[in-house]
Subunit: 731 residues, 2 copies
C-alpha cells in the first residue's frame, strides 16, 4: 500500500508498521507480492498471470475459500453485535485476514495466463530509453532513489499538468506549495514521530538491518521450496506467511525464535524487532537544537495553513486546498522499483467541509460514473469487487457521503484519463478495524500490476482529527465560523482571575498565570467553581512552574452569563484524496506495454496522447537532401504551435525507426516522402498503436496533431476526414 | 549573491564563505545591503532611492571615487603583467573591492529618489493576499522557510511553465528530475563537503550562533550611529565595513578582538569564527552508515547522468540538459525574505559542448540583443555598466564565447518576459580573482531591488571541472567521442601484468592487483618501465592493502605499440545558466508594484499577463439576480477555454472590488452590467494597469482574453479593435 494514510495513528498503517502495541492495530491488508514468493524463473511466469477474469471452473475452485472467509466474517460481525471488546475480536481478525490472503493468492494463481506481459522487458525498455533509472548509479547507486530521464520527466510533467487541470482548475481548489523541511513539533502533533515506523531486526554482530516482515517472508519461502522441509514444518510456515501481515513485534520475535532464523547474509543471530522511524531526520540552523524531518507527506503543510486559506476563501466552507510536492520516507530496504521509494511526488487534496453537510453540489455530475467497489462487507463475505454507480453506492450507504463519493468518481476519471486500464482498477474499502477511530470511511484506488494490487490513491474521510491535533499543540483555534439559521442564547461560564491579587502574589509571572486561568475549558471552570466556592484550593499546572499552583476564592472567581450568538464555531471535517504519482505512472506503463502481433521482439507503449512524453515523431523517408526543406517546414509549423516533435533523420529503415519511436510511446508519426514534394505539399500521419496511416496537407498538420494530442479529436475521426495511406513497414 | 556558483571550489563563494585559507579567495562582491545600514526610519527612504539614472551633477561627485577604483585596478593589472604571485596581489584586491564598495554605496545614495516604492507595503500585500508567508507560523515559524499560497503558487507555476517553454522546448533540452537526497561521496567529489560553508561565531556561554560577517556589520553600523563614537574609531569601523566582504576567519577574529565585540543578545564573549557547512545532513537507510545531504543545487544530478544523456542524444555533442527542482541550504541566520532562504526552487541548465567548438548555431538569432554589461574591465576602471549588443560583446572578447553569449541573451529575454524592469537589470562579470581557476568566464544577471543588486541568474563557463571530479571519484569515464577528420596513428604504452605470477603470489587478491596495474596512467607506466627494466622495484598503493605493493619485472612488463584511431575522447566543457526562481519572483513583484496616481492607498501589481496568478476577474455590477445567467454564461465560456477567472459577486462597490483584484495583479477585469442584457449580449473588459475599458460581445470574449493572456495580442491592439467604454470607478 501507499503509505499516504499511514499518518493516521494506530490503525491505518501497514500491519507490520509499528502503530500501537495492541494486536487490533495490525490488520491492514497489503496486496500479495507474489513476485517475491517464487524462484526467479517462476516469478516471471507468475507475474504473467495477473488478470482478473474468472471462469465458472475457477469460481468453483474458489468457492470453499470464499466460504472460509465468510465464516470468520460472520463470526466477527456476531461478536461485534454482542458488544465484544477489541481484544476478543482481534485474534479472529488475524484469522480472517489469513483466509482472505489465501483466497486472493489462489484467485491470482488461477487467473488465465496473459502472455503479453513480461516485466523484465518493460524494465529493460524504461532503463534503456531513460524513462527513469537508479540515482547515483556511477557511485554504486542507492536503492529506493530514482532519476527521471527526458522521457519519464516529460510523461510525469504531463500527468501533473493533467492532474492540475482535472482537479485544481475544474474544482477551483486553492493550490499551495509548502516547505518540505518540517520542525519536529509539527510531526509530533500529527503522530508521525511516535508512530510512523517499521519493525526492524539487526544482525547482532555486524549491525546490518532487515525489515522484520520481509526477512521472515523470505525465510519461509526459501524453506517451502526446500524438498527436505517436513510436511509439518511446511504447514507452520504457510500459516506464518498467511498471517504475517497481522503480526506485531512480539509475534515476529516468536517466529524468529521458533524457526531459529538467522541473518540471511551472515548467518549471525538477530536482535528482537525494534521500531525504526521512517522519517529522514535533520536539523535546521547551526545550533543543532531545532530538530526537523523531511515531510513524509505534503498534507501537514495544508493543515498548518488552514486559517490563511479559510481567509482567502472569505471565511466560507467548504473549500479544497491542493498540493503537488515531494515526500520522503526512509524505507529499511526498498525494492519493487517505483512502487516503494524513498523520495516521491505526491498530489494531495484536503477538502474542508462542515461535518453536518457532506453533500456535494456537483455530485449530480458524477453520480452515474461506475466504479469497481470492493466493499468491506464483500471482503468479510469472501466476495470480489462489484461494479456500481457511485450515486447508487452513496444512496445504499456503501460509500459514506457525497463528497467522498464525488472524489472517488473524479479519481476514477483521472486514472482512466492518464491511461490506467479500467479492467485493472478497483476501489477497496478499509475494514472498520483498519481505520483510525476517528476516520469515517476510507477507499483505496488500487491498480493491478505484476506486483499485485497496488494502492495508488487513498480516498479518506479523516473527520476533524488533523486540525484538532494542531490546535491542541499550538493553542491556535483551527475552526470556521458558521452562521446560525437564527441567533441563539448560550450560557457562558468563565474563570475571572483577581488580577490585582495575582499581580501582587506573582509579580512578573502574573500575566502568564492570568492567561492560563482564562484558557481553562468549560469543564475545568465548572470544577474550579465547585472547589473554590466550597472554600477549597484548585490546583493548576502552569508552564514555567515546577509544581502546580494553588488557587483559592481570593485569587479567582467564576462568572456566568447568557450570550446571544449569531455564529457557531465548526472544526471542519477533511476529505483527503492522496495520489502517489510514481505508482500511477508505473501502473500506466505496465498497462500500456504491448507487443506487436506476430513479432515478439517489437514492443511498444500505447500511451494516451495527453501523457505521452513527445507529441509526434518526424521521419524523412530517406536522407536525400531534397526532403530537407520540407522537413524544416514541418518542424517549424509544429514548434510554432507548441507541439513537441522528435526528428529522426538517421539512416535506418523507416520501419526500424518507427519501432524506436513506438517503443517510447510517441503516439503519432509524420513521414516526409518523395510524394511530399508535389504542391500542395503533403505528409503521412501514422497512429503508432494501430500502425494505420493517413495523408494530409502540411498546412493542416499542426492543427490536426494538436487536436489529437489534447484529445479533442480521436484517431478514428481523423481517419474519417483524411484518406488512408497504405504502406508496408519494412524492417 | 545567489550561491548557485558557490560549488565552484575555492574562489567563487561569497567572500565570507569558507573556501580556502588564502586571502585571494575572499573577493566576491555582494551587492551592498543598504537597507540594513540605516535606522528603521531612514531605511525606507533609502530603499526608495535605488534607481540607476545618473545626472551630470551626480557623475561629477562620483568622479573621484571612480578614479580611486581605477588607481587600484591599474596597480593590479601592472603587477599581473609582471607575473606577481597571488599573495602579492591579494591585499591590493581587498583595497580595490573596498573602493568599489564606496563607489557603489555613493552611487545608490545619490540616485534620484523614487517615491513610488515602499517595501513594507508590498510585504503587507504579499502576506495579506497570501502570495507567500512564513512556514509553520502557528508553531512560531522558522526563518528562511516560506509557504506559497494560491497566488504565489500560481505565479510561480506560470514562471516555471514559461521557463520550460523558453528554454527546454525552444532549445530542445533534455529535462531530467533527480533525487534531492544525495550520498556524501557525490558532494565530496563536487567540493561541497569541504568548502560549502559560512564563518560562524558562538556565544561561549549560551551556545547561540551568529554569522560572523553579519555580526560585525551590525556592530559597526550601530557604533557609527552612536554620537559618542570618536572620529578615529569611526574611520576604523568604516574601513572594516568596506573591507568586510574580503575578510577571512582570521581577519574577522582580529576585528572581534580589536573592538571587543560581544554577543548582541547576551553580551557574552564570542568564539573564534569556525566553518559551518551549510548542507542539511541526514542518513539513508536504517544502519546510519550511509551519510547523505539534501542537495544544495540540482546540477550534480545532471552531471551524474551525463553518460545516459549523451547516449540519449545518440552520443553527439553539444546538448543541454535542464532540471527544475528544490535546493536546500542551511543558512545560519537567514533574513531578507525570499532573497535568502533555506529551501528554494532552482532551474539549472548544463550545456555540454566540445571545448574546441564553443560557437553556437543559433547565435545569429540573438546577436542584436542588447545587454547592460558591467564587465570586469569596467569594474577595475571604476566605470558603470554599458549597453552593448551581445554579438559585439563576443566579437570584442568581452564575453568569452558564443555559447555563453547565447545563454546570456536568452536569460535576458526570459527575465524581461516574466516582468523584470530592463532598467533594473545588468550582467556583472566576475573578476578574474573571483572565478575558480578552471572557470573561463562568469556573468551574473543582477536585478536591482530595495535590497540592492541581487544575483538572480548565474551564467558560467565551468570548463570540464565537474565531469572530471566525478570521473576521478568513480573511475567512470565521463567523456564523449569525437570523430577525427581523418584517422591517426597513436603510440600506446600499457602495463602488462604477469597474471600467472601475480595469481600465484596474491591468490584471491590477484584480480584487484591486476586491475590496479591496468588502470595506471601513461605517465605511471613510463615510470614503471624505467624502474623495472633497470631491475628496480616499482611501488604502488592498491586499495585494501595497508602498505604499497612492490613490483619487479617478473610480475609486470610494459608493452608499446601503434594504434590507428578514428575518434578521440573529449571531456566536454559545461556552460551553466542557473536560475533562482524565488529571487526572480521577488524582483518581479518589486518591479511590478505600483501606486495609483493621486491615490496612495491604492496599490496594485502590474504583472505580465503570462505570469499573473489569475487571468481575469469577473464582476457583476450589482447583485441583482437578473445578471446571474449572464455571469454564469461568461464563466462557462472562460472555463471551457482554460482561462482562470476570479468571480467577485460580493456587495462592495465596483471600484472597491476592482481595487482588490488589481492588488493581486489580475491583469483584466470583466464587468457584467445592465447593458449586458441586450442581445447580442456584451460585457466590458478592463485593463487593470491603465484602468481603460472596452466593450465587446460575450461570444468574442474568451478568444480575446486568451490572446491577451498568452501575449499574442496587446491591450493597445484590443483598444483599436473594440470601442472604448467610459466609466468612473467609484470607491
Amino acid at each position: 500500500m501507499f503509505r499516504i494514510l499511514s499518518r493516521i495513528p494506530s490503525v491505518c498503517f501497514e500491519a507490520t508498521r509499528v502503530l500501537s502495541l495492541s494486536a487490533s492495530a495490525a490488520i491492514k491488508v497489503t496486496p500479495p507480492d507474489l513476485s517475491q514468493r517464487f524462484s526467479k524463473k517462476r516469478r516471471h511466469k507468475r507475474s504473467d498471470l495477473l488478470r482478473i477474469m474468472a471462469t465458472p471452473e475457477i469460481e468453483k475452485q474458489l468457492e470453499p475459500l470464499r466460504l472460509a472467509v465468510k465464516e470468520y466474517g460472520d463470526k466477527i460481525r456476531a461478536l461485534k453485535e454482542q458488544g465484544a471488546s477489541k481484544n476478543e475480536i482481534a485474534p479472529l481478525v488475524v484469522e480472517l485476514k489469513a483466509r482472505k490472503k489465501r483466497l486472493e493468492d489462489r484467485e491470482l494463481e488461477l487467473a488465465p495466463i496473459d502472455e503479453g506481459f513480461q516485466r523484465e522487458r518493460l524494465e529493460d525498455l524504461l532503463k534503456r530509453r531513460f524513462f527513469y533509472d537508479q540515482s547515483f548509479a556511477i557511485y554504486g547507486g542507492v536503492t529506493g532513489l530514482y532519476d527521471f530521464g527526458p522521457m519519464g520527466c516529460s510523461m510525469k510533467k504531463n500527468m501533473l499538468d493533467l492532474w492540475r487541470r482535472h482537479f485544481v482548475l475544474e474544482d477551483e481548489m486553492l493550490e499551495v506549495e509548502c516547505s518540505a523541511l518540517t520542525p519536529e513539533p509539527v510531526l509530533k502533533a500529527s503522530g508521525h514521530v511516535e508512530r510512523f515506523a517499521d519493525w526492524m531486526v539487526k544482525d547482532v554482530e555486524k549491525g546490518d538491518c532487515h525489515r522484520a516482515d520481509h526477512l521472515i517472508k523470505d525465510f519461509c519461502e526459501k524453506q517451502l521450496q526446500d524438498a527436505k522441509t517436513s510436511e509439518e514444518t511446511r504447514a507452520g510456515l504457510t500459516d506464518v506467511l498467511a498471517k504475517l501481515e497481522g503480526f506485531d513485534n512480539k509475534d515476529m520475535w516468536a517466529v524468529i525464535q521458533k524457526y531459529n532464523i538467522k541473518s540471511p547474509t551472515t548467518g549471525n543471530d538477530l536482535s528482537e524487532p525494534v521500531a525504526f522511524n521512517m522519517m529522514f531526520a535533520t536539523q535546521i540552523g547551526p545550533t543543532g537544537d531545532m530538530k526537523a524531518f523531511l515531510r513524509p507527506e505534503t498534507a501537514q503543510g495544508i493543515f498548518l495553513n488552514f486559517k490563511r486559506l479559510l481567509e482567502f476563501n472569505q471565511g466560507k466552507l467548504p473549500f479544497a486546498a491542493a498540493q503537488i510536492g515531494s515526500g520522503f520516507r526512509n524505507e529499511i530496504s526498498p525494492r519493487q522499483g517505483l512502487i516503494r521509494v524513498r523520495e516521491f511526488t505526491m498530489c494531495e487534496i484536503e477538502h474542508f467541509v462542515d461535518p453536518a453537510h457532506k453533500d456535494y453540489p456537483k455530485f449530480e455530475e458524477v453520480k452515474d460514473v461506475e466504479l469497481m467497489l470492493l466493499s468491506a462487507c464483500n471482503q468479510m463475505d469472501g466476495k470480489g469487487a462489484e461494479k456500481m454507480a457511485v450515486g447508487a453506492a452513496v444512496s445504499a450507504g456503501i460509500i459514506d457521503n457525497e463528497t467522498l463519493g464525488y472524489f472517488m468518481a473524479r479519481t476514477h476519471l483521472y486514472l482512466i484519463r492518464v491511461g490506467i486500464d479500467p479492467q485493472k482498477l478497483r476501489f477497496r474499502q478499509h475494514l472498520a478495524n483498519e481505520m483510525a477511530h476517528y476516520a469515517k470511511d476510507c477507499w483505496d484506488a488500487e491498480c493491478l500490476t505484476s506486483y499485485g494490487w497496488i494502492e495508488c490513491v487513498g480516498n479518506a474521510d479523516r473527520s476533524c482529527f488533523d486540525l484538532e491535533q494542531h490546535t491542541k499543540a499550538t493553542k491556535v483555534k483551527l475552526v470556521a465560523e458558521k452562521k446560525l439559521p437564527e441567533p441563539k442564547m448560550v450560557s457562558v461560564v468563565e474563570a475571572m482571575p483577581n488580577k490585582a491579587a495575582i499581580g501582587k502574589a506573582y509579580k512578573a509571572d502574573a500575566k502568564k498565570i492570568i492567561a492560563a486561568l482564562e484558557e481553562l475549558t468549560t469543564a475545568q471552570v465548572e470544577e474550579l467553581d465547585k472547589i473554590v466556592t466550597s472554600g477549597g484550593t484548585y490546583s493548576l499546572e502552569v508552564e514555567g512552574f515546577e509544581k502546580p499552583l494553588e488557587f483559592t476564592s481570593s485569587l479567582v472567581s467564576v462568572k456566568r452569563y447568557e450570550k446571544k450568538v449569531h455564529v457557531e464555531e465548526v472544526v471542519p471535517s477533511v476529505i483527503e484524496p492522496s495520489f502517489g504519482i510514481g505508482r500511477i505512472m508505473y501502473s500506466v506503463l505496465e498497462h500500456s506495454f504491448r507487443m506487436r502481433d506476430g513479432d515478439e521482439k517489437r514492443t511498444f507503449l500505447a500511451l494516451k496522447p495527453t501523457v505521452a512524453p513527445i507529441n509526434c515523431a518526424l521521419l524523412p523517408i530517406s536522407s536525400n537532401a531534397r526532403l530537407e526543406p520540407i522537413v524544416a517546414r514541418v518542424k517549424r509549423e509544429l514548434t510554432k504551435n507548441g507541439i513537441s516533435c522528435k526528428l529522426d533523420d538517421s539512416s535506418g529503415s523507416i520501419g526500424r525507426r518507427y519501432a524506436r519511436t513506438d517503443e517510447i510511446g510517441i503516439p503519432f508519426g509524420i513521414t516526409v516522402d518523395f510524394e511530399s514534394e508535389a504542391e500542395p505539399q503533403t505528409v503521412t500521419l501514422r497512429h503508432s498503436e494501430s500502425m494505420k496511416q493517413i495523408r494530409l496537407e502540411i498546412s493542416e498538420l499542426a492543427d490536426l496533431v494538436q487536436k489529437l494530442s489534447n484529445e479533442t479529436m480521436t484517431w478514428a475521426d481523423a481517419q474519417k476526414k483524411y484518406p488512408a495511406f497504405e504502406t508496408k513497414e519494412s524492417e
